[in-house]
Symmetry: D2
Subunit: 275 residues, 4 copies
């Protein structure tokens, strides 16, 4: 059983939580805790050996925790996701493979592409692919088409696996805290378009990728995971893009695992991640 808690910090909060568990003879296998003293905020992730009545346990917890505590007892272990893509295959393929072999920690309900490029790979894995072209449409119309598809599937998360169109604040607001993006740079370096070209021109010696939740500001949401690889003068912008795809795949996979295992807490524009 997994329990995740986020609330205002106060003296005795760990005692209160663990008291409730001890009372119910529940054994803590692993406990991760963080207090953000600047924000006066408390975060906890508990793994419990036994199972217990969830609603009774939640009531008991709420009774001892500060007001507005966010408690999730045994959050759904197999999340449901919709994936949005454009033409690049690497992140989507990795997700489809893990989904197929049951190691993703989530089920892919559908893939939305604004190009047909990745339709065939989805078909090979029997995953529904929805082609929602942005062509000859207004942006609101385009986004409404996608929103329709997403709502129809009611996913826990929407994964932007190299979806290359900028989403409007309206779209983002619709799915707040549910949108996970992979950005092809080491944020906050090289925000925006063509980060590999920017990296090449700047002559950097490392390139990176960043998985983050999406908020209104472009490439500005809470960061979940980042990773880098060394590069040198022998790589041109295209080589960097190729090398970068490897870490994009790997950092998105890591971020999704962390989120799906309920190891990521969001508060304001930052995350607490219990790796």
């Amino acid at each position: 059983m997994i329990i995740v808690i986020q609330c205002i910090d106060k003296v005795g909060i760990v005692a209160a939580i663990s008291g409730v568990l001890a009372q119910q003879q529940l054994n803590i296998i692993s406990m991760r805790e963080h207090v953000d003293t600047q924000e006066n905020r408390f975060y906890m992730r508990l793994q419990i050996e036994q199972h217990a009545d969830e609603s009774a346990l939640e009531r008991a917890m709420q009774a001892v925790l500060p007001q507005h505590a966010v408690i999730s007892i045994n959050p759904v272990p197999d999340k449901k996701i919709v994936v949005m893509v454009t033409k690049e295959y690497h992140c989507l393929a990795d997700i489809l493979i893990r989904n197929y072999f049951g190691t993703l920690g989530a089920s892919v309900l559908a893939v939305i592409g604004n190009h047909a490029t990745l339709q065939d790979i989805c078909k090979r894995f029997d995953v529904p692919f929805f082609l929602v072209s942005h062509e000859q449409k207004s942006k609101p119309e385009f986004e409404h088409n996608m929103i329709d598809v997403i709502k129809q599937h009611q996913p826990d998360y929407i994964v932007l696996a190299k979806f290359m169109r900028i989403l409007s604040p309206e779209f983002v607001a619709e799915f707040e805290t549910k949108l996970i993006n992979i950005h092809h740079s080491f944020l906050p370096a090289f925000v925006g378009a063509n980060p590999y070209k920017q990296a090449f021109e700047r002559g950097v010696k490392l390139i990176g990728a960043t998985a983050h939740f999406v908020t209104n500001d472009l490439d500005e949401g809470p960061i979940i995971a980042q990773q880098i690889i060394p590069v040198n003068h022998s790589l041109n912008a295209a080589d960097m893009m190729k090398a970068g795809k490897e870490i994009e795949t790997s950092v998105l996979a890591k971020a999704l695992r962390l989120v799906f295992e309920d190891r990521v807490f969001v508060y304001k524009n930052k995350t607490v991640v219990f790796e």
Copy 2:
């Protein structure tokens, strides 16, 4: 205030500990906990905002914890160490620098060298250097000379900063759990002498270094930290040794920081490290 606890695991142990703290109105700033379910063993490191009467707190803790619990409340923040060296300077110099600028988390009481090579650098930092030559002496005699110097200083830890003589089980027994060594390979690869030559001959693509507590078996004690760097065909054994010194310095520095901050627990031949 720092509290570290190691004991047998049982249901309610976190509640018991945090109950004692809550009762005394002590606020937990950070808590790291690990249960080794295979060994049924519980480890905890707590950082508390306030100060409290230590012996009263320890009594209260002992009263609620399982028998034979090892509790350390506010372990001495500035450890005392003796460093043992041979001829290579890199680890010792790093320790002396941090010691001089007050960022080591420990005080260097003395340096013992079986060669005079590093005497001058110690003198420049006003750190006592004891030359204990192994020449024209039996091993027991040599070790007794060193034991005398060490005992005279009563250090919390003895750091083998590239001390290149093998120590007898008797010596090790004398300072059990206090001896920290840097081994110049990624253990358990390349145990014993000349690991860089071994690594070169095997044609490995990474070389490493390992900081560990010393037990009777050569290079076999509990590992505290390990690190690697990439190498390739262009490096010969001497180049690898040179490159390796950088990570030896860095991994020993990391291990010492972790130990001095009371983040390392030892049980049997393994460590729990709350980084």
Copy 3:
């Protein structure tokens, strides 16, 4: 055009090679060179801007190089491979995906499995899968069945993508210098079976994976690439295995790219790799 050369070293060898190229008005875009002074051996990889008559160029090169020089001018850019697997999917799936999207640098002609587990994923990618069970067969018989399948496809390389049976010296001899294996540890640590269990029991802080050519000695062939990830006390042997799969996939992918791009030279038990 790619040119790779391996031969005995002598004074003037670079002048000789580049003289031939200059004479034919061929421009060197990139040149990597290594002299192993201990073995008196010369290695070179050249990328040439223009195309040229390959056999004429090879004759001109042979005329100026030491005897027994191994020259390969414009080695086949799209290698052909056979993949051997058991039950674990991660390395195979990565290869199949890259093969499908044309980014592997090689074509997968066939997959041989000693279990049927991975038959379906091959079918989804229209890659022929040959089930060669080891059950109720002598080892020679089992291996002859596999050799038959392999020979029928005439691959440039045979990739052991988590093939979990030990191959006989006879099998290895049949395909010398063509067999590439992924070993699930940081060789030479944890040779043999169950490296993650060994790593867990030793309490290491890093685990690794090694891609290497296969020779007669178990896990002893020339190393192509190695990689590690940090681990800690919170991972048990099963967690380490799970974490390890990620680097197994990644290090095999890297090794294959290097081999397929003709960046890897083998001499005795070591490799020269021009990354």
Copy 4:
């Protein structure tokens, strides 16, 4: 003997260079070469087994190379440097240690500090320390004082080892291509002041350091080396700064080694580095 060459690229350039060497019976031990096809620029670093008359060799080289080729034959192996500091010790101490033990690849002629904080550590190593305060002086006056000290020592390079005042374009112009700086972030992220505070507020999961040549634009010169370390929610800005110092030290040490070994070429705003 080391030879470094930078010039316009043309067909036959490698043949020309190696022809000259072969003619003089000089054996190439290692050769690194790079052609920047976009800029049509050629870079080479050669290590030669034998010694030869340098001026004769240079004349022979100039005769076969394109106009304006920059050739350096056997560049001074022990560079001379002046180090500029403010209050932080970590980079300076590392340089002083390597200088003292003869492994820096350069000699520290003098240290200039705008505070007296690091005077004592220099004295302990018998390295002249010049206190040039910026207080109660105009910026031009302050810089002229420093320029005087520097010119008096005629260093090959000036290392800004955590020198925390911004230098004017005039100062930079005075020592063009000789100024090496360590910036405490992963450029181009977090340009300017307080990068650790910026990194903390952005909630990044990696922090970095960048060693670069200094040009007129703040933090905008050619990058020599970069490195990162993982961070997480448990570190505040001060912790990040502390952790960052470790990589600042390490990345500056690496960059200096590369520069002092004549492995770094600068062209426009980028470097070619033969590691």
